[in-house]
């Protein structure tokens, strides 16, 4: 039914449905021309447009109106037009702007990767490897926040937050009631709960999965292991609340943590409930389906999975229940 529009990104042409954003069109082409995204999350309505890492240059507006767009546009929130031509990695302007954005994101980031649980699967790490500078030009003291406790399952490190708003959208769209939000303005803005509330409902743990950095991490996994020492396995269990499809992170036969199954853009395929995430930490709780392929260029995959070190499902251990 719907119309197909032609779009060219970095010289690669494809046809996508009208109304698709540039970023999603790029994801349909795939490969390195896909702009990075720190705040956009395809499963969260209204997300995107904020972090400005996905800025691209539109060198030709459309077949009808071939004028280039005057400014760089956020590819995650700009719908394509028929005949649009977009430059991402081929545009020096884009690379320069992206470098700027990475620098901005890092000036107040604590860079405490050595003690951060997100290290290894952190989008900000990936982004700064690719587009960042080796040294910071920021000489001032970094911004800090008062610590607040948001419950016994989720750890909030506000200093690491890049204000992508994803966790706000999760709370709005996945859970019943949102008790946290953005307080204050400008660079004092912070994720917080009003009068120290506890974020606690069946799906609140998903904020951990959507957080691109280490601002929201799993307290039950806290300081247990670096993520590259644990092996991600696809697993499932019968769950009354969610689909029960998750990735369990194993070290030998011990479940260190449970997360959603993330695709190559770091987005989960299915939301999982807090029972699956926090309460089922025994290997017998899960049916292991096999190793989880990690395609991203992150630290976890660089050393092991992509370079062909085989990870097989542990055999003969009687894992999994068949309830």
């Amino acid at each position: 039914m719907s119309q197909l529009f032609k779009i060219t990104i970095d010289g690669e042409t494809t046809e996508v449905e009208a109304g698709t954003t540039i970023l999603n069109a790029a994801r349909q082409i795939g490969g390195s021309l896909v702009p990075p995204a720190m705040c956009y999350y395809s499963k969260l309505k209204g997300s995107g447009g904020k972090c400005r890492t996905c800025l691209v240059e539109v060198s030709k507006g459309s077949e009808k109106d071939p004028r280039p767009m005057p400014k760089l546009v956020a590819s995650c929130s700009t719908p394509i037009m028929d005949g649009m031509e977009v430059k991402n990695l081929t545009s020096p302007k884009v690379l320069e702007a992206r470098k700027g954005v990475v620098e901005f994101l890092l000036i107040n980031h604590p860079l405490d990767c050595p003690i951060c649980d997100q290290a290894g699967e952190c989008h900000l790490q990936d982004l700064s490897y690719e587009h960042g500078a080796a040294r910071s030009r920021y000489e001032e003291a970094r911004r800090t926040f008062d610590r607040i406790d948001i419950g016994d399952k989720i750890q909030l490190h506000m200093t690491r937050c890049i204000l992508c708003y994803r966790c706000i959208y999760v709370a709005d769209q996945i859970t019943d009631k949102r008790v946290h939000g953005i307080m204050f303005r400008g660079d004092r803005a912070e994720i917080s709960t009003y009068i120290e509330n506890v974020i606690d409902n069946d799906f609140s743990g998903n904020v951990i999965d959507v957080c691109p950095v280490g601002a929201l991490t799993d307290k039950t996994f806290r300081f247990k292991s670096r993520v590259w020492f644990v092996k991600p396995m696809e697993a499932h269990r019968d769950c009354k609340k969610c689909a029960g499809k998750a990735t369990v992170w194993l070290s030998d036969s011990e479940v260190f943590r449970v997360t959603g199954r993330k695709d190559k853009y770091g987005e989960v395929e299915d939301w999982i409930c807090n029972d699956c995430r926090f309460e089922n930490k025994k290997i017998t709780d899960w049916v292991i389906d096999g190793p989880r392929a990690i395609e991203r260029h992150s630290v976890i995959s660089l050393n092991k999975y992509q370079k062909g070190i085989k990870v097989e499902a542990p055999k003969n251990l009687g894992y999994g229940n068949t309830r």
Partner: protein, 448 residues
């Protein structure tokens, strides 16, 4: 003698009351529009007048109105942007305080043209006392039958509501204003969709500045063609300029666009010249966010031609040697002004007012402020000056809303034109240390 359209009766005692305003020919435009014209004809008049948005961007108002989605079945809204928060701009305040009825009249006519039955005035939190003035004017207009149901028997209904902001500069950005009006956090929206398609409560909306909407009244009274004869070129009509700084006669002036800047600055009818014994050093021509210009470049453009107070003439030379008319917040500075201190003050403002939604503005404004603070207080390095230029260029154009640009332009322009002053602050750090005094005495020409 310049044409006075908005400020014609401003000094008439009691003009803020309905009776006096009416006796001076008030609400004629409403009668004319509602009794003899169709909504489209009103829009045509505005288009013909060449009126451009007076809030800062200078976008043609008639064109903005024509973008409004009239086909959807949703209600349409007109929102008056009275969140005048730009440092140096206080023209809307003067108009609303002294002559609120001209705004109400303009709102009625514009709402009629746009088909808005509920029109909102979003006024900044700091203008709390003006809320009362406006509400009184609205009540009087309603009493006289110019608001409410079936106005003047035309079948057109209109209510005007005044909404008080809570003191955020960002809520002057039209989509942030709409968010705030809806009761949400005042974060600018990602565009597209534009308000003309999906604005207040996801309905088609036009957001216009106070002065723009008030100007619709003289346009209807005199006719669009007649109005277009005022002014120069594409800068038609008159404009309110709020002048402040080191001038003899600060205040709000109505000028014909196209007035030579020299006359505006030096004639006794307007600013009355720089205070005695001092000379012009720099000018911010249109509110704090536009690029600062050295006096010489302000009076004459790079080609040596005298500048005029118009959208085009002030922006001649682009940002390299030009500036913008902006919202008409005219700030003149004499040679005692320290540009570094001035730039730091502006940077501090934008840092404080950034909403924190998108990364370049949230982090960049704070960074610029800190670096400028360092320079101002004698802890700067030479490379900080280039760093500032670099930060400004990384913010500019890469943000969701124009606040990023507004924060970046003054810093970039100050360094472009007054670099030696910044260098002086580094070299003579012990002498400057946060003093507001200018540190380059007899500072005259800036190298372009």
């Amino acid at each position: 003698m310049a044409t006075k359209l908005l400020l014609e009766h401003i000094h008439v005692p009691g003009i803020e009351t309905y009776d006096v305003y009416r006796s001076k020919g008030g609400y004629r435009a409403v009668e004319k529009a509602l009794k003899t014209m169709s909504p489209d004809e009103v829009m045509e008049e505005v288009k013909k007048s060449g009126l451009r948005g007076r809030g800062g961007a200078g976008f043609p108002t008639g064109m903005k109105w024509s973008f409004l989605d009239r086909k959807s079945n949703n209600p349409r809204y007109l929102v008056c942007n009275a969140d005048e928060s730009e440092p140096g701009t206080f023209k809307d305040r003067y108009l609303m305080e002294k002559n609120p009825h001209i705004l109400i009249e303009g709102l009625i006519v514009s709402s009629y043209s746009l088909g808005s039955n509920s029109t909102y005035i979003y006024i900044r939190g700091e203008y709390k006392w003006i809320v009362g003035i406006l509400e009184k004017a609205i009540a009087e207009a309603k009493n006289a039958g110019f608001l409410g149901k079936n106005i003047l028997g035309s079948g057109f209904d209109l209510e005007i509501y005044v909404n008080n902001g809570a003191g955020a500069y960002i809520c002057g950005e039209e989509t942030a204003l709409l968010e705030s009006l809806e009761g949400k956090r005042g974060n600018p929206r990602i565009k597209p969709p534009f308000p003309a398609i999906s604005g207040l409560y996801n309905c088609p909306t036009v957001v216009n500045n106070v002065e723009t909407l008030a100007t619709v009244v003289p346009i209807l009274n005199m006719g669009g063609d007649e109005y277009a004869k005022l002014g120069i070129g594409k800068s038609t009509g008159t404009k309110l300029i709020s002048a402040c700084g080191h001038i003899n006669r600060p205040g709000v002036y109505e000028i014909d666009l196209g007035l030579p800047v020299d006359e505006f600055l030096n004639s006794d009818e307007y600013c009355g010249g720089i205070r005695a014994g001092h000379e012009l050093k720099a000018v911010i021509a249109g509110g704090s966010s536009v690029p600062i210009l050295p006096g010489e470049l302000f009076l004459k453009n790079a080609a040596g031609e005298p500048r005029l107070m118009s959208y085009e003439s002030l922006s001649e030379g682009g940002f390299a040697t030009g500036t913008m008319l902006g919202s008409g917040g005219f700030i003149a500075m004499d040679e005692t002004t320290c540009i570094v201190h001035n730039t730091w003050t502006l940077a501090r403002f934008y840092h404080h007012e950034s909403c924190g939604q998108c990364s370049p503005c949230r982090e960049g404004t704070g960074w610029m402020e800190k670096v400028l603070h360092r320079l101002e207080f004698g802890h700067g390095h030479m490379h900080d000056i280039d760093l500032l230029v670099e930060i400004a260029s990384k913010i500019e154009g890469n943000t969701i809303c124009p606040l990023g640009d507004a924060a970046a332009w003054p810093v970039a322009a100050a360094i472009r034109h007054f670099r030696d002053e910044f260098e002086y602050h580094v070299k003579h750090a012990d002498k400057v240390k946060g003093s507001r005094k200018a540190h380059l005495p007899n500072y005259k020409t800036a190298t372009v």
